[in-house]
Symmetry: C2
Subunit: 347 residues, 2 copies
């Protein structure tokens, strides 16, 4: 999710990069058929008789945050949460964390204490034990965390390549709140913070700065027999496209069925749907399964009344290689979206 | 190891930072007594019935390397090697690797390919399978790798806090080559690369840019009953001080017994000893054990003739809290060293 626009001079895209890395993985090493490698939310590897989930996620100043608009606490918090979310999206729970901290040599100790409070706060609340790391000086602040996880069902992980035509596409909760929070932040910066914040605006800022990973729902997804999932980190449409490409299928999404954060509807009634479809960093889980599995998952979610809560569309046969997403409005008309979400290298 | 000097305005030191992190680990989480946490080369954690070694090490442009004097290949290589070395120093072998790559959006694909060739080259040669990671844009290039490892003896790891008075201090091979390489590089830059390189100079540059982690020696150290070890990454004296502080002991080092890289003696005869004592990034292993264990380790090292190769001194009782290192010259006179090695935050 950008807090800064980048120049247009871009010789490399994120998917180029993933391809380069993927090819190296296949050339240089061997991934057994029961293991999941580069390209999913996290890797799943054999460790003796066990299977270990491994993921890494970084936050860079000027890209993921601006140091003057995000507290040190929240920077630490969000870096851990983004990793916990990847672990949850594999159908696993966080176990251990290793943190690499690149910070300017002039950083104040109090700021560091705040950052570590955010790191440890997220670990305490959502799981994972900080066991090590590395510290280096850098002109730009950057955090990189690696988390290990344990599969809820040791026999299988939730993957991106297991969506099948006819299955339902669902999300585990309302989305768009984080993008809404970014929009509120930008408005505040533009108005120099003079205007008072409404309760809804505060809630959106909270969604942006202090997101919640759905570690609670991972065991329920696995228990309901779901096989295909990923977390919504770059945006619903771009992340769904990744599932469809990996699975060789297409998808139809009903825009009006996408659950929006209520505060988002109040603050940005006209843009709420767009934020929900293309905004990133909500850390809800996008999953694909048969309709009765959605019912089972919803039965375990507190406060969710209807059986088909979160169902936003359907997987269909691929017209060509897969990865085509058709978005329909409430009248069944096709809606076009320019950008589907956030490619770190494409702006 | 610096390739750039930093300003003197420094409110925070690396040991401050490690203390902040350590305290957070203890406050927020629990490390069982059979686990090793923040402060050693790597963490050792329980994963079901197994014990897993976890380490992270980063390389930052302008701190660990200058992009115009180090090839992309070698940047990738060295980032992996520094992690493999940490794994070896715990008495373990590398298993899996996760890579976080922060690079400018204008990076060329060919450069990326070179970088990945270095990453995978080191993994193929010294162990570890690349299974995942994260890619982000950043103004400053930064790599952070996390490696998992498997203990050679599942019952124990090599630690820093297990040195006892009367034991020998030894290194697994000649050191100082990497600092010598950096000095050659600086000379080349100063002379604008006009002068031709000698074979010795080339060897030192190789030691600096393309170091070798001692993954081969880890099983031999464990097999010989060694309990205390760490890799020489920041400099022999500063790293030995860390062992002494952790173990609550002092040490006496005989400077003339420190094995120097032969090319270093040829190129920098007057400074070789200082490079060997205070230079970093050699990635040989510093270990402490009874004299007969050194003999056993040397018996397994090809090309090492004498039983006490690498023995550089002795652990003695602490005069106060431990951590005092006395360096003696060939006449038994005390030698003073201003800086013992590289503190990332202290220059």
């Amino acid at each position: 999710m950008p807090t800064e626009e980048r120049s247009a001079e871009v010789p490399i895209s994120e998917s180029d990069l993933v391809e380069i890395i993927k090819r190296r993985v296949r050339e240089g090493n061997f991934l057994g058929t029961d293991e999941v490698g580069v390209g999913d939310d996290a890797a799943v590897v054999r460790f003796d008789s066990q299977r270990l989930v491994l993921t890494a996620d970084a936050m860079v100043e000027g890209v993921h945050f601006l140091s003057d608009s995000m507290s040190w606490h929240d920077i630490g918090w969000k870096c851990i949460v983004s990793n916990q979310s990847d672990i949850a999206a594999m159908g696993a729970t966080p176990e251990h964390a290793v943190l690499t901290l690149a910070i300017p040599a002039t950083t104040q100790i109090g700021d560091l204490e705040d950052l570590m409070a955010g790191v440890v706060g997220a670990l305490d609340q959502f799981g994972g034990m900080l066991v090590g790391g590395d510290t280096v000086v850098s002109e730009v602040t950057m955090l990189s965390a690696t988390l290990t996880g344990r599969l809820c069902d040791s026999a299988r992980a939730l993957t991106r390549n297991s969506a099948r035509p006819g299955q339902s596409i669902a999300v585990t909760g309302p989305i768009g709140g984080s993008s809404g929070g970014l929009a509120v932040l930008n408005e505040m910066v533009a108005s120099k913070g003079i205007r008072e914040k409404s309760e809804d605006q505060s809630r959106l800022l909270e969604a942006h700065f202090r997101p919640t990973p759905r570690v609670d729902i991972a065991p329920e997804l696995v228990g309901a027999g779901v096989e295909c999932a990923m977390d919504i980190s770059d945006g619903l449409l771009i992340d769904l496209e990744r599932i469809c490409v990996a699975s060789g299928v297409d998808a139809i999404v009903n825009a009006n069925r996408v659950p929006c954060e209520p505060s988002l509807m109040n603050v940005f009634p006209d843009q709420a749907r767009r934020f929900a479809l293309t905004g990133g960093e909500d850390y809800e889980i996008l999953y694909v399964c048969d309709a009765d599995a959605v019912t089972q998952v919803n039965a375990k979610q507190p406060g969710v009344g209807n059986d088909d809560f979160g169902v936003i569309g359907e997987i269909v046969d691929a017209k060509s290689d897969g990865g085509e997403i058709t978005v329909l409005d409430e009248c069944g008309q096709v809606v076009e979206f320019g950008a589907k979400g956030w490619d770190h290298f494409a702006r």
